[in-house]
Subunit: 426 residues, 2 copies
């Protein structure tokens, strides 16, 4: 369809965009010469040299001695991504945990943390404080020593106004209109030498980014990632781009009504997919003895999932049946996605991963039953290899990605002998 | 998300792409000078002059005397799209009609035709012949005299492998694996001085293109167009781009299961939206006396729709109730789209347009009832202003659009005094 921009680049921020283009070229080609970057980008060599100098000063590129091409004589100076200077942090807040991931410019993990945390009982303010504490701990961690933190992403299970940094509605956290970005910016104003940019996004969206960038389905451009927590959400990647919709609220598969007069959902309606196949509803059905009066200690979810796995592995009929039923509902939900957006893959994440041996067979049957296209339009259903850290990891990666789109938050760094000598912890 | 191309343009077809870029610039800016095109595109003036000369030779641009800027002295030579030289043809084949539209480069209608035709009874081969006859009639029509036909689009209600030109599955036409493009290319090989490129696509996709380019919701980038025929399909435009999915089978909302053990659908399943709210099912419920033994003459659908409108307007309870119920189902289907892809607008097309006064209220209630986001994520439900010619029109426009993507099928034309003098019929 027609793009209203009439040229290959817009009128603004040409240099920033070109910096991003060069960074992207080096990621694709490294190790590579400046001449190779010029050839690949169409930018002239003088421009490339100037941009490269800027990117080296910002700690994003470095020179290496190696030459990719075996040439006679002196090897050319080659460029590579600088894996030693920056870090990006991603945090997921969910009903029963915080997940924390920091990555370097090559998207390699610098650290990962999983923190059991009853976010719902805590409330939004206390939760923001807990996130800020976690960020301070990461910034102070030896794994990040001498690194600049280029940004923090926070993944939230709910409707997120990402440009505004506001959580519009997260029923399972009981948040509504929570200005999470500004809360965190205030709490973190002195956490690092310069302010840390904060991005707030939906957990399923960032899970999809993580899958696309580093999961075992990496580079599958038409991919749906489904979160498996108390809530169920979908992150839709189409052609390698997140499908956000007009207000950023796409992917709410957890609140599609699957059946009239079904069980009550946290959103106030009945029969939503989340009420039929969310992890809390699965555990209630699979472990009825653990919920005698309907009470649930949310921070225990991980333990309860483990119990459900043990019982299903022991072929305990109630657990097996509950998982089979939930899998069928998940398959019917996935079939809607197959019919409406025709993904190449649907990836089940979160707590669905350990439960997959008992969920997947009926889930796949549900897709086959209800998909209109032959062979479900080529879609297969798989589990994530990224577990409960997917959304946090996707958030960290999204901050790295922002650099390549020309959003470069870093001023030229002060040359720092220690940082340059550091080998990079992991 | 990262694009694997590292530069602003790829390595191939740079000139073709630049021709498209210039064409697009002139569409946006016309009337405009070559200098303005150079400024807007970032291409240098010499290159622009050469590309413009080529586009003039191909009959796509022309020079005009007018100057947009009031300047002292001789007015500059201004460029505009050449509305006199080319034509693009779109045809929709549906269960009970062929719709034909031809447009010029400015996407103005040159002719429209509506032909009642029982496509299902005819079968695929006879249908291809009927389409070919229609194309020959258009090519010979005075409205297209002296024009080159740059291409033909055929819109089909079903799963279409558009790159292959094959209708994979169209249950309401009883087609399966129909190689429609090659059938038509063979039938049309001598219909014009040079072969006419043929594009086959899904009717809902092309309806969405037509809405985006020329409907009353034009330029709404996140838009879903829902066809209202025997079948129901959705064309999903996200960010102004068609969302096709990994195999091109996205948008099959007609075959999403709305209710277990619902009425039988043409696809062989039960409870599909199409079986609850497709035009045939609406007419059966609204006009029970007209279907005494379940028999249906498909070519009568337009008449029957008119009868249903008359009865509903006269507040005949059976008709009103049937439309209310179908509207509710449509709203529930639209709510799935709202939850999953969050469009800014859902547009009901085809026969839903005349029935809208009785469908829309319950449809909108259905959306409000089941949408998770506040205010349905800002989505409103409207009817199309393009009627039964939407998909045909969208197909013709898509051929024009292809020019601006650098797919220029025309060789430089022979200068033709008659064509240049022709004022363009409409």
């Amino acid at each position: 369809m027609r793009d209203m921009r009439v040229g290959p680049t817009g009128f603004h921020d040409v240099r920033e965009a070109n910096l991003g283009t060069v960074l992207r070229a080096v990621r694709t080609l490294a190790p590579c010469s400046r001449a190779a970057v010029a050839a690949a980008t169409g930018l002239n060599k003088t421009t490339v040299s100037s941009l490269v100098a800027d990117l080296i000063a910002r700690g994003l590129l470095c020179e290496t001695g190696e030459s990719a091409e075996r040439r006679v004589g002196r090897p050319g100076v080659m460029l590579a991504l600088d894996g030693l200077t920056i870090a990006a942090i991603g945090i997921e807040v969910n009903v029963d945990y915080l997940s924390v991931v920091a990555v370097d410019l090559l998207e390699r993990d610098l650290l990962t943390r999983h923190i059991a945390f009853d976010a719902r009982s805590a409330g939004a303010d206390a939760c923001a404080h807990r996130i800020a504490d976690a960020v301070r701990a990461v910034v102070a961690d030896p794994a990040l020593s001498h690194r600049s933190v280029i940004g923090l992403s926070v993944a939230v299970p709910g409707l997120v106004d990402s440009p505004g940094g506001i959580v519009t509605r997260a029923p399972n956290l009981a948040w509504r209109g929570t200005p999470l970005r500004s809360l965190l910016e205030e709490l973190l104003h002195d956490a690092a030498p310069s302010p840390i940019p904060v991005l707030v996004d939906n957990d399923a969206n960032l899970g999809a980014v993580a899958e696309y960038r580093g999961g075992h389905l990496a580079r599958t451009g038409d991919l749906v990632y489904i979160t498996g927590e108390v809530g169920i959400g979908a992150g839709l990647l189409m052609n390698g781009e997140l499908l956000r919709g007009s207000a950023g609220f796409a992917g709410e598969i957890g609140h599609v009504r699957m059946v009239e007069d079904g069980p009550a959902c946290g959103c106030g309606r009945r029969g939503c997919l989340e009420a039929l196949a969310g992890i809390e509803s699965i555990l209630r059905a699979a472990l009825p003895d653990r919920f005698p009066a309907g009470a649930l200690t949310r921070a225990d979810l991980a333990d309860l999932v483990e119990t459900a796995v043990d019982r299903a592995a022991a072929e305990e009929p109630t657990a097996v049946e509950a998982l089979h039923t939930a899998g069928t509902w998940l398959g019917r939900g996935a079939a809607m996605l197959v019919n409406l957006v025709n993904p190449a893959a649907v990836v089940l994440g979160g707590y669905f991963v350990p439960l997959a041996p008992w969920l997947l067979p009926s889930c796949r049957s549900g897709v086959r039953e209800l998909a209109f296209a032959p062979d479900a339009g080529g879609c297969f259903v798989e589990t994530s290899s990224l577990g409960l850290s997917a959304a946090a990891r996707g958030g960290a990666v999204a901050m790295v990605d922002a650099l390549e789109s020309g959003r470069l938050p870093l001023p030229p760094r002060q040359v720092d002998g220690v940082a340059a000598a550091d080998e990079g912890a992991s």
